[in-house]
Assembly symmetry: C2
Homo-oligomer: 291 residues x 2
């Protein structure tokens, strides 16, 4: 019997968007999860359709990117599926989790919390990288979770970079839209890592993409990043710090193979993301052996 | 001095989405209005960029389609601007206008109301077809409101068909997504035409696309329509009745030149609309002399 409940099946572009829910062992809550099966899925043989995992940013559910990021036509063109996880447990009943928009609910920061308050539910690292992929592999036999890449936006861009670097060889490629690239030096990172991981900053570093680069010893596909120069979280609040990541990459195995695009005028919204999903889809399609 | 206030300018795809507001003489309220200027706009000469008007459906503001319908990349490709009007006056303070989701606010039905209650504000027909186009022409001199087409979704699909047929020769082409094609025979039409136009059904007919076909004597570009077979407003509630429009067209100057596509599985949402904007953009680009 399936562990997933299919809340709805939506015909869109050439494929189907499935809105799923399931009881997560990691978060101990019901989790929502969307999957886009591209038009090639039905006629595929077992384990032939690669997967792109898209991690969303602060406040988002799986639906925001499903509606607004415009991945679907590109997934159809190249022939990969997309998995849209949620951004945190919801309804975990942790005190204070709903007090601010950039912490707690909708802001799990893709870590496994270690503080007493959060450790039982806020386990989004294990949820994304360990729990959901085998479950989805069992459910959708034509998908191939051995040929998977990862991307995301803002907190999800950080989550993609961090997850890629923490799991050498697991993901064929990584890209990010306006990622929080060096969270231990940004207010969002301090607020959330402090709450989820405690005061010991050495525990924070194992999730920080810029810090992770130095020790990384896996495959080095080019890393594609877009950041809008008109994004106030970038130019005004210094939450993103993508230059730190780019500079740090130079002295590592990546040797500066970070394709960082600072694009004029664009902001932090889906109007920005949707403008560049075509480029990111092509990037991943190359490493997923689709072109 | 401009009559428009620019609430925001958003860089997206190759162009700019402008969120405008202005005081409307027709509705006697402040109206929001979005305009997408494609990437070709800046370098254009006077009056060289054609325009597609997109009329939204029930409850929508100008933002829903701007975010979710994915017109922008197609507008860039062919080189037309898009105008996204609102769907009704807002804050007109007419008693009962906020009592239901499918009447009043967000549901102006693109008519000029004649009932005492609504006649001072609910004038969306004149707002769309007479007021905003000259104002936008004055504001954006490179746009060409003499080369303009019209489309829309649901209530807006009806509004597009109705506006096209009531203004022979004004619009180069028309298309519609899940249009309310014969509103005088549908519950939505009865509810709203009754409230806005009164009990005399002869007054309703002059807005009904299926009724308007017989007397129409203008140019006859092919009419493109998509309707999802999985749309409950179509198959369950009989609100759309596109077959009535198609059948009625056969005995008219159109001679059945209605390209009605009933598409399997698709619903009434933006997941459906966005799947077919590429086809509708190409349709209009042809009649706007862009391909």
């Amino acid at each position: 019997m399936s562990v997933f409940k299919t809340e709805s099946t939506i015909t869109t572009f050439g494929g189907k968007l499935l809105k799923l829910s399931h009881q997560s062992k990691q978060t101990q809550t019901k989790m929502d999860l969307n999957v886009y099966l591209p038009k090639t899925y039905e006629k595929s043989a077992k384990k032939t359709v690669p997967v792109l995992i898209y991690l969303s940013g602060l406040t988002c559910t799986p639906n925001n990117a499903s509606e607004k990021a415009y991945w679907q036509p590109h997934a159809d063109r190249y022939g990969f599926a997309i998995v849209f996880p949620d951004t945190s447990p919801r309804g975990a009943n942790v005190e204070g989790e709903d007090d601010s928009w950039d912490h707690g609910t909708g802001a799990g920061f893709y870590v496994d919390a270690t503080t007493d308050k959060y450790k039982n539910n806020y386990r989004m690292y294990s949820y994304v990288h360990e729990e959901i992929q085998p479950l989805l592999q069992d459910e959708f036999e034509n998908l191939n979770f051995e040929n998977v890449s990862i991307t995301g936006h803002s907190m999800g861009g950080y989550g993609a970079l961090s997850g890629f670097l923490q799991n050498p060889g697991k993901y064929k490629s990584v890209s990010a839209f306006s990622p929080i690239s060096n969270p231990i030096k940004a207010q969002w990172g301090e607020k959330n890592f402090g709450a989820y991981l405690g005061d010991d900053k050495s525990a924070w570093a194992k999730y920080d993409p810029t810090e992770l680069l130095a020790k990384y010893d896996g495959p080095t596909p080019e890393i594609l990043i877009h950041v809008g120069k008109g994004d106030p979280f970038y130019y005004r609040d210094y939450q993103l710090l993508p230059e730190n990541f780019y500079e740090a990459s130079k002295g590592t195995k990546f040797g500066g193979k970070v394709n960082l695009n600072l694009v004029d005028g664009f902001d932090h919204s889906y109007y920005f993301i949707s403008s560049f999903t075509a480029d990111h889809a092509k990037h991943h399609a190359k490493y997923l052996d689709l072109i």
